[in-house]
Amino acid sequence: MIDWLKDVWFGFYTVLVGMRITWRHLFTKSVTLQYPSVKWPLPPKSRMRLFMNYEDCIGCGQCVRACPVACISMKTEKRPADAPPIWAATGQPIKLDVSVFDIDMSLCCYCNLCTYPCPTFCIYMTPDYEFATGNLTEHLYRFAKKDAKFLMEDPKQKAAPAGAAPATPQNPPASPAGASGP
């Protein structure tokens, strides 16, 4: 009898304990983020879709070699001698014409290894992650363009006479004109 009463009371009391907890949660703020209209702020170094700045690419192909899943494909040919000289934004002269630069994001494993070797910092990860498509071939991004606007003069040459360009690791001091890049 005593055990039975204890049992019944325990059942009743534990229900009340549970009800207290749910009552408390009735008033706690919900943790839902209404995704498409509200987004969680991403950390600035988050690794999402790859982007490549075609005008700055010197065609060295280091990113292609670094990629563990071979999602970058690149085709280059030597720039004709009579073509006007062009430079990347970091000051390296572009000696190769990059005719194809494709990144297949459906293969990409978001390891970020391709961005480290790039001498001109032209390939990088963007925080854009909403690029799901119904068709997988739409994940093949072609970055080569016909109407690219290359820098027609050496940015270091332009900065050096002014003497104002500070020597930073990303923007090393100007070398004599026509010198090859590092």
């Binding site: 009552w23 408390r24 949660h25 009735l26 008033f27 839902t32 702020p41 600035p44």
Partner: protein, 409 residues
């Protein structure tokens, strides 16, 4: 109809001078309108409320997309359900298959006939009121078994058999506990039962015979919860075991009929519990019974019934589903002995003139207890809100850290 007519004349004396057809129209139409509200429209509100309460109790938002804060979600769902094809699987017994949801609805909606919304606002004041409710709501069990059998599906049949076993088991303690207030009053009419609790909150049957009647209330509520087949007693439609129980094979309109019936039953059980224990349409303070010329009885019954419906939802999102053997244990080994004990004890106390309608200390119990309960809930609520504010500060700090490039998710 006569009761409604008297109520309306009490409200607006000019009605007595109206032509006969207008009187018939309004005094028969008003109860019909109220019933229609509970049959067709209230479930929309219930479902929205239930989904929101479920969401808030799980720290979610619930429906937010259709209309502001998702208020139109259930309307959209209802329209979808009504326009869906009613599928009759091969091998179903078509006649029974169609009749079953209708029978379930009959059992769920006929009890509304005797529920008193005010001293004169009641479709019919039967002298066997409570008995009528218990008897007529048992019809829905027949409907459930019929649905399970006609579906030609083993899960549906399992669900129907479970619901039959469950309802038969829980009818017994619930009917025995109905006897307790009936013995105090000496009448089965819901109107008489309500009037016997007049005089404010401390006169409600919940606080009579102080330690005894609260037990009866809890037991009756648990039994009623089990009879509506709702969680934690929803084994007839246990979705983790039997796909959806007795309504596995139903779709579209017929499924929505089961839905309607479930929510109507919830309301009926809550309303009957309020009449038997919480004073029905009587206000907690006699002064609140009348608001100017407007009788507030309908509001108080509505308020009490909806509070109990809220408790049902609250329990649903608090407790896990009981196992079949636990269910039978609760019915036969816990509720039945308690109910028998209550009937014998209160039956004896009623016979003794000093305690004919309650212990002498009863009127000092009601208010302190209810204020204590409300105060406790308020304290928990305020603490939750304060915790919210503290956490909002922490979240803002974490967000700024993430923006500065140090934080992680």
């Amino acid at each position: 109809m006569n009761a409604t007519y008297a109520f309306l004349v009490g409200l607006v004396p000019e009605i007595a001078g109206w032509p006969a057809w207008a009187i018939v129209l309004i005094s028969a139409g008003l109860p019909a309108l109220v019933l229609f509200h509970f049959m067709a429209l209230a479930p929309l509100v219930y479902v929205y409320g239930e989904r929101k309460i479920a969401a808030f109790m799980q720290d979610r938002l619930g429906p937010m997309r259709v209309g502001p804060y998702g208020v139109l979600q259930t309307i959209a769902d209802a329209v979808k359900l009504l326009f869906k094809e009613a599928i009759f699987p091969r091998g179903v017994d078509r006649k029974l298959f169609v009749t079953a949801p209708l029978l379930v609805n009959v059992g769920a909606f006929l009890p509304f006939v005797v529920i008193p919304w005010g001293a004169r606002l009641q479709p019919a004041d039967l002298n066997v009121g409570v008995f009528y409710v218990a008897a007529i709501s048992a019809i829905s069990t027949v409907g459930l078994i019929m649905a399970g059998w006609a579906s030609n599906n083993k899960y549906a049949l399992f669900g129907a058999m479970r619901s039959a076993a469950q309802i038969v088991s829980y009818e017994i303690p619930s009917l025995l506990i109905i006897l307790v207030p009936v013995m105090i009053v000496g009448s089965l009419s819901l109107q008489d039962l309500t009037v016997a609790q007049a005089g404010g909150l401390s006169n409600w049957f919940l606080f009579r015979y102080f330690p005894i009647m609260p037990v009866a209330f809890v037991c009756f509520f648990v039994a009623g919860l089990a009879e509506t087949n709702r969680a934690p007693f929803d084994i007839p439609e246990a979705e983790s075991e039997l796909v959806a129980g007795f309504h596995t094979e139903y779709s579209g309109f017929f499924f929505s009929l089961f839905f309607l019936a479930e929510y109507a039953e919830m309301f009926v059980v809550s309303a009957v519990t309020s009449v038997l224990f919480l004073g029905g349409y009587l206000a907690p303070l006699p002064a609140l019974q009348q608001l100017g010329p407007l009788p507030m009885g309908w509001f108080w019954l509505w308020f009490k019934a909806w509070s109990l419906v809220f408790v049902m939802m609250w329990l649903r999102w608090t407790l896990p589903r009981a196992r079949v053997d636990q269910l039978m244990h609760i019915a036969w080994k816990v509720l039945l002995p308690i109910a028998l004990g209550l009937v014998v004890t209160v039956g004896g106390l009623v016979l003794w003139p000093v305690t004919a309608s309650g212990f002498p200390w009863d009127r000092y119990v009601g208010w302190p207890l209810s204020l204590l309960l409300v105060g406790f809930l308020l304290v928990v609520m305020v603490r939750a809100l304060l915790w919210n504010r503290r956490r909002a500060g922490e979240l803002a700090y974490a967000g700024s850290a993430a923006a500065a490039g140090q934080g992680t998710r």
